[in-house]
């Protein structure tokens, strides 16, 4: 009866095909629709299905990231962006439509042509599997004593790349700050929505939402920390955990208002956090320099045991990533929500 665990290979092919078909349908629907609301929802479904597909491809870490971002934050941010634009997309001009169609068609054909030269899935002789990739897989466990290879590659062997990615996230946050403001006090001309908080309607309703959300917030935060600290053993790490913890604050802001969230997690703290995370990451690298080795070389962090040094270094930079990602998500959220145009009934 243990045959449940062993399944014929084509079972996975069938599942993959159905998932990709769903992706195709959702993608086509997104292209066809003009209602941005529906598109936001379809984008949510697209994210759900692609997470499933990543799991099916054994890329659990990627699936985890997709899940963390797609479950809450991306919808919220897309809605925030939508508020600043309009509710329906303008139909494209026919000439442009056809022009872009041909460009897409040509690109697609070129890609399909390239596919024929690609190594087959899981080919041991293909470039990513044979040279440096194979080396990482061989050396990861003795070097770092961390079971999850993704973590050691991402944080140690490819430490420079990850530092770059973290800086990109910080830059994204800075960009939002520059365009949409710091998320502090609301600018003069953008007047506050007149919702009467002490109005009986606002008080009595949404009891269910309030109670359940309050219960969920600590659970989500704890799960975020679990993901953070178990990145060495399974899928997860600073990127995912940062998004999850930011989601808890965003949930709070959705229920109790952004002002309440800003009172508890001030924009200033968030702005400092965004930079602090990168500072911790870079500081870990400098610690390596001071101890007489290369930048981001963790072996020297513990003079007695190189693997332990690796563990320390990875932990430290993951905390940096967590702080930056979490803060930048909130910077973006505060940035989008502090600019709320008044929408009249006619425009809606």
């Amino acid at each position: 009866m243990n045959a449940d665990f062993i399944t014929p290979l084509d079972a996975f092919t069938i599942i993959d095909l159905i998932l990709m078909l769903m992706l195709l349908i959702v993608g086509l629907a997104i292209v066809r629709l003009n209602d941005i609301f529906a598109i936001v929802m379809l984008a949510g479904v697209y994210s759900l299905v692609s997470a499933l597909w990543f799991v099916s491809l054994d890329a659990v870490d990627v699936a985890f990231t997709e899940a963390a971002v797609g479950a809450g934050i991306s919808t919220v941010l897309m809605l925030g962006a939508m508020l600043l634009s309009s509710r329906t997309a303008l139909p494209a001009k026919p000439v442009r439509k056809w022009a872009s169609f041909f460009i897409v068609l040509a690109t697609g054909a070129a890609l399909m042509y390239a596919v024929t030269d690609m190594p087959s899935f899981g080919d041991p002789l293909s470039a990513p599997n044979a040279y440096v990739g194979l080396e990482y897989l061989k050396r990861s466990l003795p070097d770092t004593e961390i079971p999850n290879v993704v973590s050691s590659v991402l944080a140690s062997y490819r430490g420079y790349d990850t530092l770059g990615e973290t800086s990109v996230i910080l830059t994204a946050g800075l960009g939002v700050m520059l365009i949409l403001g710091m998320g502090g006090k609301i600018n003069g001309q953008l007047k506050k929505k007149a919702i009467d908080y002490d109005n009986a309607d606002a008080q009595a309703h949404h009891t269910v939402l309030r109670v359940v959300s309050k219960m969920m917030i600590p659970l989500i935060v704890l799960y975020g920390f679990y993901v953070q600290f178990h990145g060495d053993f399974g899928p997860g790490g600073g990127f995912q955990a940062g998004v999850i913890i930011a989601s808890a604050v965003i949930l709070y802001a959705l229920i109790f208002g952004v002002d309440a969230a800003k009172a508890a997690v001030p924009p200033l703290v968030v702005r400092i956090g965004a930079a602090l995370g990168v500072l911790i990451y870079g500081g870990t690298g400098i610690a390596g320099l001071i101890l007489g080795s290369n930048y981001l070389d963790y072996n020297v962090l513990d003079p007695h045991s190189a693997p332990h040094g690796q563990e320390l270094g990875i932990m430290s930079i993951e905390i940096g990533v967590l702080i930056t990602v979490c803060s930048v998500m909130l910077v973006i959220f505060y940035g989008f929500t502090s600019r709320q145009p008044d929408i009249t009934d006619k425009d809606w």
Binding site: M1, D4, H205, H206, V208, L209, V212, S213, M215, M216
Partner: protein, 122 residues
Amino acid sequence: MSTVLEILHIARFGLAGVFLLGGGFFVLAGAIGVLRLPDFYTRLHAAGVTDTMGSTLILLGLMLIAGFTLLSVKLALVGLFLFLTSPTATHAVANAAHKAKLKPLLGTYRQTRKGDNEGGSQ
């Protein structure tokens, strides 16, 4: 002794299979309901079938396969969180529709196989 264990083993996996397929049935029935039922409010009920019976049976079936492990605890947590969040989300959707004055279909509604409907006879 070993035969008893073997029978228990088979019974466990057999039961797991029954639970899994039963759960799949309820999930499918709920989905068919969401597609078939005439208006938004009635569709909520069909979606509830998936959220409750479907998820419980499937998770129970998987827990039977996993046995007394940490994985079972995680599956139980999945079920618990679904029980917390899914009715809340359903309530939120229903509430929003109600507040937006979306009229529910009331009275008696009959849908025959051919698809000709008669409804709203209060």
